[in-house]
């Protein structure tokens, strides 16, 4: 008797043909990606249409896709919705750019110099957990219901997040590259400008893309309260009129703008930081 049981020997079977595309981590073609992505939208709209047009849901609470499209058309032709979209984009971009201009340099300084990090990090970590939307009542008191208040909400929502994420990225620079730069004669300033910043740049850009997405959620909240223009304002108005078609259309427009700005950011990043996408 042997101590080790032999593995059961079976007759060699004809090799099973498996669809490679179903194997884990196996990539699918670009065409298939598009088709699959689109397919889900189609399924989504179909289910929505089935329940609304089939009369399973009251039209008071949920408009059908057709009503929504009609309402959307009316928004543009009758209610000057394009101006609302413009206002909202302006607020997001304004608040976001303001936040980035302050947060990126501060984050780099924190990542590079541990003393600066020790000074700011605890306070900023604390601020990061303060919900931007909770500041709205306070900001209305301080800044009124004008543009400054909207932009400040975006700013508060973005600035701490960007600062911390940039600091972590810069602080995580490869030490061996820093050492190599020192042995090539770089000074402290050279390390920051020629190693830390270029090395962190692609991830900083990626951080900005991510936070811009969050900024969109803040702006709508800011516009829901005390506003006379913008997509969020349109949504509150429509709620008062029980116009669910307009509400859904507004939400979809936000999603589309987000998708476009995200793709744009991705495209620019790929162009600017080709090296980090090499293989």
């Amino acid at each position: 008797m042997s101590a080790v049981q032999p593995l059961s020997v079976t007759e060699p079977k004809a090799p099973v043909r498996r669809r490679r595309s179903l194997a884990p981590l196996e990539p699918v073609s670009a065409r298939a990606r598009w088709m699959l992505g689109l397919a889900f939208f189609v399924v989504f709209v179909a289910v929505w249409a089935f329940f609304t047009l089939g009369g399973f849901v009251s039209p008071t609470f949920l408009a059908s896709p057709i009503t929504m499209a009609k309402e959307g058309w009316l928004l543009f032709t009758e209610y000057g919705f394009i101006k609302d979209i413009g206002m909202t984009i302006w607020r997001v971009v304004g608040g976001f750019v303001l936040a980035a201009v302050i947060a990126v340099p501060l984050g780099i300084a924190m990542g590079a110099y541990k003393g600066i990090e020790a000074f700011f990090e605890p306070f900023i970590s604390f601020c990061r957990y303060l919900p931007a939307s909770a500041f709205i009542p306070l900001l209305i008191l301080w800044a009124g219901i004008g543009e400054a208040q909207k932009i400040l909400v975006i700013f508060i929502g973005s600035v701490f997040q960007i600062t911390l994420m940039v600091a972590v990225t810069v602080g995580g620079a490869r030490r061996d590259l820093v050492e190599a730069a020192y042995t090539l004669g770089a000074g402290h300033k050279g390390i920051v400008t020629r190693v830390l910043i270029p090395g962190a740049a692609p991830e900083i850009a990626e951080t900005l893309r991510l936070v811009l997405g969050w900024a969109w959620t803040y702006v709508i909240v800011a516009e829901l309260i005390g506003s006379s223009s913008g997509i969020g304002h349109m949504i509150t108005d429509s709620q008062a009129l029980l116009n669910t078609g307009q509400i859904i259309f507004g939400i979809i427009v936000i999603g589309l703008i987000g998708l476009v700005s995200d793709s744009f950011f991705k495209f620019v990043n790929r162009r600017l930081f080709a090296w980090s996408f090499v293989r």
Partner: protein, 259 residues
């Protein structure tokens, strides 16, 4: 070119809990002008620590390092270094990597380019100037790293197992390439390795390190003639040296294993 004097350099590492580990016992060593010295020792014996102290990337617990009589205080361009890990800047092209140190010292751009082109040719990377490091093989990346260090015209070239991550065939080719450059330029080189063949083939002098805590146990002159060809590795003189060093290293590796 210049000489390095290592005087009673020791290093004790201290952990956060206050535990002390002696990595280096006091080491005295001279690297003369135009010397090619290899430091041979088992893994973890502290030979890389010594090299990092010479580079100024680590500090000695006691003792000092002199370069041409002046004490080393920190890292600097006059001590070029090639690391075992791939340390090319991934966001710069091969040519820009080689120009990094030149740009840092404010050399005019035309001159930078001329110098970079010379060293790119020297390490056989013509045609790859505009590639990014990730697009090149490990051997090509290390050749770039050598060119980058040499372009800076350091007084001494420090090499920390630069071919350690390469496959055997590539490593042998890289040894010949580096030796060819050394034979032409006669740089002072301090080269750390755990590969006995490499230590003999490259060096004028081999310093054998003991197991941790490291110290220099033996020094051995290598009087093989230049230019050296890879066939020298089968010559009786080479075999003799190899037999001696193998014995030395074996004793140290066993000692290291017992700890």
């Amino acid at each position: 070119m210049s000489s390095v004097s290592i005087q009673a350099v020791s290093r004790v590492f201290e952990t956060a809990k206050g535990q002390r580990t002696q990595a280096l016992q006091p080491v005295d060593f001279e690297v003369r002008d135009n010397d090619f010295v290899t430091i041979l020792g088992p893994s973890g014996c502290g030979k890389s620590t010594l090299l990092r102290i010479v580079a100024g990337l680590d500090h000695a617990t006691s003792g000092r390092v002199l370069l041409d009589g002046a004490p080393v205080e920190g890292p600097g361009a006059e001590r070029g270094m090639v690391f075992q890990s791939y340390t090319l800047f991934p966001w710069l092209t091969i040519e820009q990597n080689i120009r990094f140190g030149l740009r840092e010292r404010g050399m005019p751009e035309a001159q930078q380019k001329e110098r970079a082109a010379y060293f790119i040719a020297k390490v056989g990377l013509r045609g790859f100037e505009q590639h990014f490091p990730k697009q090149l093989s490990g051997g090509m990346q290390q050749r770039t790293a050598i060119a980058r260090a040499l372009a800076n015209d350091p007084k001494i070239l420090l090499m920390d197992e630069p071919f350690g991550a390469l496959d055997n065939q590539t490593r042998v080719l890289m040894q010949e390439l580096l030796l060819g450059i050394w034979e032409a330029e006669r740089k002072t080189v301090l080269f750390v390795t755990h590969d006995i063949d490499e230590a003999i083939f490259m060096a004028n002098r081999v310093a054998v390190f003991s197991a941790r805590p490291g110290r220099i146990k033996t020094e051995l002159a290598v009087d093989l003639p230049h230019p050296r060809h890879y066939t020298i590795k089968t010559s009786p003189e080479f075999m003799d040296l190899k037999a001696r060093l193998t014995e030395e290293i074996r004793a140290e590796s066993m000692a290291a294993d017992l700890h």
